[in-house]
Subunit: 766 residues, 2 copies
């Protein structure tokens, strides 16, 4: 017996039949319920009742053809009536009846249908939506910029906008086209050729004095480095090794005679060189590296030696293939006295590629990324170099072996020599941030274009309109802007200070921001990869290369964890110095009091207020970051004191025992600094169209980072539970507000399409 | 004037002179303070006072030589006396005086020295430690297993231990040696050759019926897959494409005639094939894929067509180079009726490599990883295939075009066909876990061996003894064990169920655990890479390849975010079904009451107790996971209802709006399941040596995951602030306890050294 799908009563029940079998199984008890309900409807004709019940028999499901016929009838009925995705099964039934012959069902039957639908316990609306017709084509995307993108790019580019534009134009030259999956050897030669091209443009020497072809402008050099990082990262690392580390060590650790002899050649890449500090057995703990430099007064020369196999220089960029001269860090001994680590210029290979006598060179081989950089290992077997090859700005050895230094303390001297690394750390942080910008540009553009799923009667929805997708990318976009301004400020202060002045503050901030920024890069590129799905995995969409190349940024130029521990130790030393006149108890009481006062001043506004203006305000956000950093510092200090004073623990063990707190303290400090710098940058703006988008990004960055640390804020009693919930909601609201500006915000990074090169970011067919 | 370093009084002040100049700068106010202090010491001779003060003049710092002489005197003095790292400056001064001529200073002078030291506000102990001598050589590591490693391996290997041992032996065969940085084309041929070798061993067909060369054992097939993932991951993915997806689709979606014709050839790799589901424009939303299959009754054939350029098949493994036949998913149309997505066998290239007529094949090109797999794109231009090529287990088309299916509802039918993907998801999760095990094995072994920094008078400390390092690796090790048992249990239930039964529960768990496990893999390999520093970045240490190859696991075989949203939707449907007889308010009240009751039952034990036994207990931990999943479910349901009922939001928009909650809900559910399975696995153990280490790992996994979600537990009032702090401390304590077992715990994974191949994990010289 087949159902008469033209009969109005049958038509009104069709939606229920459709739904009853939709999951393919009708249990006997479900069938009983439905039978009872249907038999109770006295407005139905007897034969309709029986026919419908017969089609609700668990033993004889409808055939696929039959079921399809019902669906077709429903679709046709729905097409005749204004059915939308919000229609219930009962409403659809009513309209089905009407569409059949124009008659309307009695009110009682409408209510009855609704009751049956409720009894089914299904999502009627979703099932009705399944019935609806084809999706319309999506509207072509509108690309109206919500603010002046060029002005934003100019703001980001800052004082060196002209240089950056020049570099971006240069990078679009065909010679800079990315090679496709090059072999390591060819890739290294390509990268060398690129660096030569950059040197020709005078970019390598920017930080050197004018007398040697430069402009004496470290800030400009770092701006160039950051902009170059919009292109291939092997190129930028090789550039940094040659001009920043190798040339920079001659510039900053050497004196006139070294500058005269080498600096111009370093800046033109006529003399490729290395910065040979790291050893296999000593990477982070460079103070204990093992290479020795013994002074031989008779021959007026130093003997450079690798005392055991595992003490070789490791990871030295430019060493495997191209480097001719190396700045080698070694323990200096004169006449039985040990003076600690010093830097020496050691020839390692001739221009024709032959290793120098006594120098053994090995290739570090393939790496996860950066395979355009020729990292190598160096062993020295009693290699003699002339006395002049000591880079002697901070220490000299007289011909007779007398050691002299303007810095009496070896510890201080070591610290001063290592400060040459600060510029490298800032540069690495900024290069990583460039890579994060590239990744975000690709992922945001793809997310705005790529559609998947959607309401049943509308076009599929762009990924970036989904809450999960916004949450993946937009807080990272806000953090990227925040870090841009923070690193800008740090660079300016570093470049202005010059190498003579005490650099503790700048160094600590460089360490903190290097760790914060490079981990941000790793996280951002991971999200960007996943946010682009399979397309993100394709090599030609570049995220894979960006990820692989920057992965090592978190552990080279100072391992991030080690750097953060140093930052925390520095904070603790300052803290102790500040309170040196108080005994421990007094100190603790003083700071607790101060902190408590600060908290109570803002109580209960800080802990309870949940309105959006408050949550977004600089006052609340700044307080949160400052308070956290202060309180963590106090608590880390207390924990250390307790262990050392009360429990009589060895200081080394005590520090190890509280490392987790120290890392969190340094992280909190980094976040405080980044937030403050972002606020300062937006405050400096004249009232113009950029203030609004930047303020919103500042709000999102601040509130998102508070959200991500709510465990701490709740535990410390800074926010109460109702406020914690409100913060989560407000982060969502901010993401929604940033969403329409997201494409303009990544466009403003100004990365040339030729550098991005990713089809999903640059090709409109995607 | 130079100081007489033999004079006892001068000697007693030497430590202070040393410290005063240690940071290289002495400010005038510091100098004033020191001068005043020293001049107040009437036990000092006048000339000593003046001589020392003269050496504390900011205008004339000591020369480097002079300073070095002081250091040498201090070192010699310290060597004569029992000076340790815990010695203060004052104590050192006292001993210096004594070491000079055997005389002891008066008590008053001892106190005075201590006061001066306090006034300096420096860490005297650290500076004294700097003076101490050479580090001793480290003790050779002891490698006594704290439990029976072989028994643990046997437990992990489970019922298929023999198969796993066989595979591990096979993988140590020289033919399986990793090629060094192979070009993509050569790598693909290598991987094909490896898969042929595996097929020869009967491994490919394990899941097929015996009649076709198999053992009809899906669990065994998945065990093989997981073990193979200890080796190259391109190999295992190609293996999965050929035998799991391609052969599996014929096995599970086809009928006798297809099995007869193709299954043996698929299992021997005589017939390389593809699983062509994903399209460029439709990856997650496969229900709307665009390829069409129109039935032509006259010719008794289907016409397979790609309706527009962007609708091509994308990412199809085995398509670019080797596949000859493809299971193609397409929208079936018969006689004007549309029946949804079905699977068809379509020849794509001949054995000699020529593409079939009407089939266009493109290479997807280089990827971030898995370059041994030949992913390709397929376009079909009205390709005709015989009627028999419909895989017709769940739907047939009669010669005249009549459509028949045992499953009337298209939605249900689609779900059933897609359930063929469940095995793939479980396999991917397990393969990812194998990679995490490899990464952990490498990182733990390196961390236990690699030393850096240390107390001044002891050997440097292994990285894995640092709190930060333990925290990086050991919770991940515990999670890896937890997931191993959870996936084991899931696999058994999946394999036992068979494809006919309703698979909703198993599918939901597979989706949840696939997302949880593959994100765990990504996180773990990232930590492992960073934990190995530069060594982790070297290609031959393998972590890079493991990272790059598994990165796509989070987005293929179901994008993790999409999978978690499906899991949450399923939980909400179950929830609604369970409470279908109550109205919304009643439902909410009921569950709130029940939840509140459950909480109050354990109050204040749950919220306040902080003793270790409680924090580690199964009762507390299980409660925490269960409660969180329940309460998140309730809250997600309430949020949805509020939007749909009260705010009249479109259901699609309502779901989008609460996506962040849904993802968290699904994550909480996954965690609850993993925890329960780990508990069950440890409960099943007889009282033996494995119970202890596994229980500790269970405690660490549970408490660490609670710690990582403390924001939620604090916000929900489940734990109070004092308890939250106690939890952090207890995670540290558990890490300390797991540390001595860490190497044995990774050894127990049983991964052959030949597969790890990483020098830092297998070569004792590192």
């Amino acid at each position: 017996m087949s159902l008469d799908t033209a009969h109005p009563q049958v038509r009104s029940l069709l939606p229920l039949l459709y739904v009853a079998w939709a999951d393919g199984v009708l249990t006997p008890s479900e069938a009983d319920t439905l039978h009872a309900q249907i038999r109770a409807q006295d407005w139905l004709d007897d034969e309709v009742r029986e026919a419908v019940c017969a089609h609700l028999d668990p033993q004889s499901p409808p055939s696929a053809t039959q079921y399809f016929r019902w669906i077709r009838a429903l679709r046709e009925g729905a097409a005749d009536a204004p059915v939308t995705a919000r229609c219930s099964l009962a409403e659809l039934g009513v309209q089905m009846a009407a569409a059949g012959n124009g008659s309307t069902l009695p009110d009682a039957s409408r209510r009855a249908l609704a009751d049956i639908e409720a009894a089914l316990g299904v999502d009627g609306e979703e099932l009705v939506a399944d019935l609806l017709g084809e999706r319309p084509e999506p509207e072509p995307p509108r690309r109206e910029a919500p603010f002046d993108v060029e002005a934003m790019t100019a703001l980001l580019d800052g004082p060196h906008a002209e240089l950056r534009t020049h570099i971006r134009t240069l990078l679009q030259d065909p010679v800079f086209e990315y090679p496709e999956a090059p072999r390591t050897e060819a890739y290294r030669e390509q990268v060398l050729a690129w660096c030569e091209r950059l040197a020709e443009q005078g970019l390598g020497a920017l930080g050197y004095p004018e007398a040697y072809g430069g402009e004496g402008d470290m800030e400009k050099f770092i701006a160039a480095f950051e902009t170059l990082a919009e292109h291939d990262l092997s190129m930028v690392i090789k550039f940094g090794v040659q001009f920043g580390l190798f040339g920079g060590s001659i510039h900053r650790l050497g004196t006139e005679k070294h500058h005269e002899k080498y600096l111009r050649r370093a800046g033109t890449l006529d003399l490729p060189g290395c910065f040979a500090m790291t050893e296999r057995a000593h990477g982070s703990n460079v103070r204990e590296l093992e290479t020795t430099a013994h002074y031989d007064a008779d021959a007026e020369s130093f003997v450079i030696d690798t005392p055991r196999h595992e003490a070789h220089k490791e990871w030295i960029g430019n060493a495997a293939a191209h480097g001719q001269l190396a700045t080698v860090f070694a323990q200096l001994h004169t006449d039985g006295a040990h003076h600690g680590v010093h830097a020496f210029l050691v020839p390692i290979r001739s221009a024709d590629g032959t290793p120098a006598p006594g120098v053994r060179i090995e290739d570090c081989g393939e790496k996860m990324g950066l395979n355009g950089v020729d990292n190598g290992r160096l062993w020295f077997d009693e290699v003699r170099i002339p006395r002049e090859n000591l880079l002697d700005r901070f220490a000299t050895v007289q011909p007779d072996g007398t050691y002299e230094s303007p810095i009496p303390s070896p510890g201080r001297r070591f610290f001063t020599m290592l400060s040459t690394l600060i510029g490298g750390r800032i540069s690495v942080a900024r290069a990583g941030l460039s890579a994060a910008k590239s990744g975000l540009t690709i992922a945001v553009r793809y997310g705005a274009r790529r559609r998947q799923f959607g309401p049943k009667d509308e076009a599929e929805v762009p990924l970036l309109d989904y809450r999960t997708h916004k949450r993946r990318l937009l807080p990272k976009l806000a953090t990227t802007y925040a870090l841009h301004f923070a690193l800008d400020d740090l660079t300016q202060r570093f470049a202005a200070k010059g190498p003579e002045e005490p650099l503790e503050k700048v160094e600590a901030e460089a360490n903190a921001l290097k760790a914060y920024a490079t981990w941000h890069t790793t996280d951002t590129l991971q999200e960007a990869r996943e946010a682009c799905g399979g397309q993100g995995y394709k090599a030609d969409n570049r995220i894979g290369a960006l990820k692989a190349d920057t992965d090592v940024f978190t552990t080279f130029e100072g391992d991030n964890t080690v750097l953060l521990l140093q930052v925390a130790k520095g904070l603790l030393s300052d803290f102790r110095r500040e309170f040196r006149d108080m005994n421990l108890l007094g100190m603790a009481r003083f700071v607790v009091d101060e902190v408590a006062t600060r908290l109570s001043e803002l109580n209960p506004v800080v802990t309870r207020t949940t309105d959006p203006e408050h949550l977004r305000s600089r006052d609340f956000q700044r307080f949160a970051f400052q308070y956290r950093a202060d309180r963590m510092l106090l608590s880390a200090g207390q924990r250390l004191q307790r262990r050392i004073e009360n429990e009589n623990m060895d200081p080394f063990d005590a520090f190890t025992d509280v490392q987790d707190h120290l890392v969190q303290l340094a992280h909190a400090e980094a976040e405080r600094v980044v937030y403050d710098r972002f606020v300062a940058a937006t405050d400096e703006l004249d009232e113009d169209s950029l203030r609004d988008p930047l303020t919103r990004l500042r709000q999102l960055f601040g509130l998102y980072r508070i959200e991500q640390n709510l465990d701490w804020f709740l535990e410390a009693g800074v926010v109460e539970r109702s406020k914690s919930k409100a913060i989560r909601g407000e982060v969502n609201a901010l993401c929604d507000e940033v969403r329409p500006q997201a494409e303009a915000l990544v466009d403003a990074f100004g990365i040339p399409d030729a550098c991005l090169a990713a089809p999903i970011a640059t090709d409109d067919r995607y």
